[in-house]
Symmetry: D3
């Protein structure tokens, strides 16, 4: 069960309204690397998790992310406060209101016209939050790696947002949120390595014939080697012929069909057969300038 | 520039058509953990990457993922081959065709009715591929972690698909694809750790006051400690009061508004003020059974 | 700030696993009328609300909806428990696992193959949750009506789910959740009518010429009158001519353009002008059977 | 069957082109509160409705909303007229065309570059219309409430748009459209209350133990009481312990599993068990600056 | 302005309810090739069209597509009629209702549980209609080709649906709808070729160096020639070297940067430089079984 | 199998960074008419195609589109190069960075804040690529028409982009890409007409009663005739009565129900029956100003 305490996890002191900046902050409210995505990710993992330690940790962090969602949401709302009143009362001369909306830049017009100066669950381009951002798949050695990566991404977006404002109160609150992503990443790292072994993820080992091969698929000036494809662990395959049909087969796809199925496919193929000998006149040719003088075929 | 070789990277030998199984395979064709998502992830990173080694590696692996997309796509197409002919020619008695579509189960009806037995870029529930799955953000210490996680997730989904079929040719090709995810994860791991330092990701360090705090936000029977929240690295905060307003402020959100902005907000608030003393009759009460005998107020 | 208590708001006792039923339950987890949609709706309203009474109420109910999300999520997880183990370990013979996945019906295959038997934020067709479901617009006289409607819809979907199962523990927990939607609707009704006046919503009155007109746009057998279009409040307009151009103008659309703009539009129109006198041969005619003997125009 | 009359329902007289304003108007063309959403909502309800009076009303209003879609679409097209010609002919010097596109602000660049100055079915941020906005669920006591709320929201967005322009022809047409939302809301209200009883919606009554309880889930400074949670109708529960496990159970989730299912879950749990005693070295630690001098473990 | 006539364009006589078939029919109601997509396509083109003949035609056909939407919607509603009553009243024993929902197959559970047996604007997999299906771009020589293709696709999906049922009334109504797609394609073909020239679409001619080149990018067994790449019109380029950097340049991408921009990029590159000489220990190696005995680095 | 060559298909020489222009270019990277959509369209068709000539052609062109995706992606990356360094290092004073992001206009803020100055798979409004853009349905006579139309649309968007910039290197590369769309359209036209007959698409002929009828559904000033609805091929139906129920039936929808089904529907109808005689008081009336002095009904 969740409970709510009216004090924020971090005090939000915004210097002055700025709907353009508010719009950028939405990235961490309803965006792909934002706090709702994080809360959803950990909450869904917590529900299905059977390991007691991880389950506890996932609920702890999911709950904190909800609290962060509230902090970033309050930053958005404070930055939009002036716009909200103007939009609700519409008392400016119309030109002024239009200019205030257009002048703030980026997609802040959406926040004002559609959302009335609130904090909508969209990203900074106005794209609604989607659970397609949530990559939980229900296997801890994969999900914990997803969490580590998600925290790293969120840290970066906070870092970018911090660089965009000189409002000290906003910087401070964002700094807190950014730091917590670092702390969460550390927890998820510990939890991943407390599973032993955790690589390869899941239950099955890979096929040893292919687990240490590096296919050099991109060729030309600029090729480089590094630990990711050289060293005793790696077999480096650069010959195009050895990259194709690595099983030693013909590299073709086949299926065994019943006689009736084959018959039907043949019929369909015949009906739509392409005549390689034809050089048919086409619609494009009809459409060329000067192709005129043509007439209907009857 | 890309080039195409008509031999597959791995030969696909399907035993017999099975549109239900084909539908499940779509998960790795157009699904969130599938090969198109992988190719898009690495390709977009490769484009923007300035480090020559990583750029080369990302193009290598993006190109291989496209080749995997072709392998899994061929598996889908072979499993759908029988259905394709039946759908194109429609020669069964209608009841038979309807039963064959409905009987295959899951969402294979979509593949047949809308996509004609081909390999559409949807997941196994028929949800179209979306680039919302692609979590590239343009910072290598985050993106490489995303890649590691993505490979781990893809490995798991292949493992599940392998467990679902006893067609030896399908199992074998899926085994190859699964193994390559392991190999790619290894490459991305090497590339991540070849950046030093890579933690915390990005440029800014966290605020030392909050970087090693663990907030115990979920309480009750079932709490556990582990390396993720105990040890000398961690400050463990379980007191609700110490979890709120951790900056020492009042935990409130505020913004400095101009006099005119305040005035407008006051006007808007007055217009929509809630009267806490009222106990108004409501629409719901009007709608209760027996609330009748009511009449219009004029 | 949010806090989490490990006890659920309502105890969940599931009689036996049933992944097909689990899939239907997702409707109230990640579906349009589900608990995440509700929590997001009230939480975003709470953030932007300036009226202290409504703000408090919205946080209360948003928090309870998160607690309901946890209850329905646990129902899903319990119903999927058997499937989760089978999928994670893959120890059945493959035919068995495939049959167990396919046999459960509906979209439960997705929950198993992609989500490993967890509780994903999708609806019962596997469509990911989207904030497009959240209709908060930041004006209380509209938002409260949206909330009343949302509670009514959620109540109905719970009623349908209750009718679908005979597992007494599931029925009981769903009954609790359904009842809470009724209670929430009552609260939102009170809050709406505690604003006076609240109709028409917003600040502006309508144009009295059009506010009580009913346009009878659909004609033919089956027309009926009722309080929604008859009585002294209504002017009933059934004449097609009086339905069009109700302002008394010509019913056309116009804009004043500069000379240069007009010139450009004329040029574009000339370039793509349709010749009404032509009877051109078309691509379709080229494509007709027997249209043959045609040749390229050079 | 639908028929079309070339006269608009309301004459559209636009003073001068303004692609930035056109973009804002898209909110009511392809946005969530727009006319296509409204038409789709009522049309789908009309189709499935069996009550003759409501069916007639729903077709009347759906048809009028299509006519409104045409009016707002014409406003968009007229405001874009200048941009359309410039884009089609591309005769400005390039800098001019780029500046005209960029200078209009908000997302009008999309309307021009992708849609050629037409009226696309997107909202003002360029997000394509989605039927996820349509909340019809097929139960009139819920759907009519959804309609009431939808009309209220649409009225507000029109009010905002009216406040944004000083073009008298645009204001006038928007004023008509706004007023019609008020009239429609009145019709839907009448239709809702002509069903008796209509509360609670649907067939089942709630569980009397929970239908009048208010859970005070959000605590701290700022709590308020009002008709929504006080009075003889309400039981106000503020004690956290009484908010959890309100059924009197243990607040836990459980399911009865077969022996085989339990065995598999145990195996899976063992494989991914977290060792709470471990303090493993992690990837993050490897990635710290100065963690160097580390070497591979062989 | 639109008007509605209560008679359908084609009488719908359904033999008996069949919610599984109803679900398949949704493909042409809210699916990508369905009637709403068609109506939206032509309606948006009609609005922006300045050529009087095409504008008239587009409104004619858009209006007819809305009438078709009504016909297919009624087919869906009739096929769902039985399910609707069962779901609304929930009087079956629960097992029966669950079985009836699950037994119908495909995604009909969604139509019943979420939409109450109505006609929702989703495709047969339950994916909500999106205006991303609408490919209007505001240039008639492109849009008419899009319309021709859309009619062709819709014709095919109707053909498939006709093959799926033996209900004579359904077959007959679908046959009408399919035939109208053919008629519409003919009209759009005529309208395209009534513009002269219409190829290449738009205003600019292509670069003659590249307009008749065919790049043979896919090589290996199975290559074929045909009118699409052979004949006097075509230059066939099969040499990989001649396929790359066809402008004669170095095939590289470059941009002129300011000194400050270069400096910043160098700094960023240095910070995230990959050390090609390193063979770092990685997280994956830490995670290998038996990698144990490792300890934290302090 | 795919292979990658580090030389681009066309050399990209960008004069100077311009993140606003970069954002517009995204339209052809991740937008609906862009290169990823094209590659996906042809690749999925190639996989399922059984005709050897078309299969070869589709792989050729799909591979070239991937190579175009790389070209346009490099244009985006070069135009964003300056922004990337600024964002990564964040060394400007904050005001400067904010201004540089906001000043570039359109949605370039998204590319910078969320994507770090890379090339994300979104359109110019920031909407993620979706496979809903890919209209492959698995029937060549429809798919080839879709391809022809898609090339026409892409050609137009390139033409618009070319008109927007005066950077000669960008214009030149875009000119190449535009020209290739023309060449591809020519190939697809040839391939379509090499199937004979190809109209009507698919297997079934239309119903001759309806295949040459034109329903004049939109009436009023502005009606025109042309080859699309006049001539000996067309029967022109303008009488509204002849447009409805064209089968000669009653224009109604019906289904045969079992007695039990009818009973349930009657029960449901009775429960939600609308009383046409009532003039109930409504929530809206309660909400009117001055409706006060009302009290609760007990």
């Amino acid at each position: 069960m969740f409970a709510h305490n009216k004090r924020l996890q971090y005090t939000v002191r915004v210097n002055e309204p700025n709907p353009g900046l508010a719009n950028l902050m939405l990235e961490q409210f309803g965006g792909p690397q934002g706090e709702l995505a994080a809360a959803c990710r950990y909450f869904t993992q917590a529900l299905a998790e059977d390991d007691p330690g991880r389950k506890d940790m996932l609920f702890d962090i999911a709950t904190e992310e909800l609290s962060h969602l509230e902090v970033i949401g309050n930053i958005v709302v404070m930055l939009n406060k002036g716009a909200k009143g103007r939009m609700a009362e519409g008392v400016d001369s119309e030109g002024d209101l239009y200019r205030s909306i257009t002048g703030a830049g980026n997609d802040s017009h959406l926040t004002q016209v559609l959302y009335g100066g609130g904090a909508p669950l969209v990203n900074s381009a106005g794209v609604p939050f989607t659970a397609a951002y949530v990559d939980t798949i229900g296997e801890p050695t994969a999900d914990l790696r997803s969490n580590i990566a998600a925290e790293a991404r969120a840290k970066i977006v906070y870092e970018r947002l911090i660089n965009l404002t000189d409002d000290p109160g906003v910087k401070e609150a964002l700094g807190f949120l950014m730091t917590r992503e670092i702390a969460h990443q550390k927890s998820f790292e510990k939890a991943l390595y407390a599973i032993e072994p955790n690589f390869p993820p899941g239950k099955n080992q890979g096929d040893p014939r292919f687990a240490s091969v590096y296919f050099n698929m991109s060729r030309g000036e600029g090729e480089m080697r590094g630990a990711w494809n050289q060293g005793e662990d790696w077999e480096f395959v650069t010959d195009r012929d050895q990259q194709a049909a690595v099983d030693g087969g013909d590299g073709d796809a086949s299926v065994r069909l019943s006689a009736q199925e084959m018959e039907l496919l043949k019929t369909a193929a015949a009906r739509t057969a392409s005549d390689p000998a034809a050089d048919p006149m086409t619609g494009a040719e009809l459409g060329l300038a000067g192709a005129a003088k043509r007439s209907k075929p009857h």
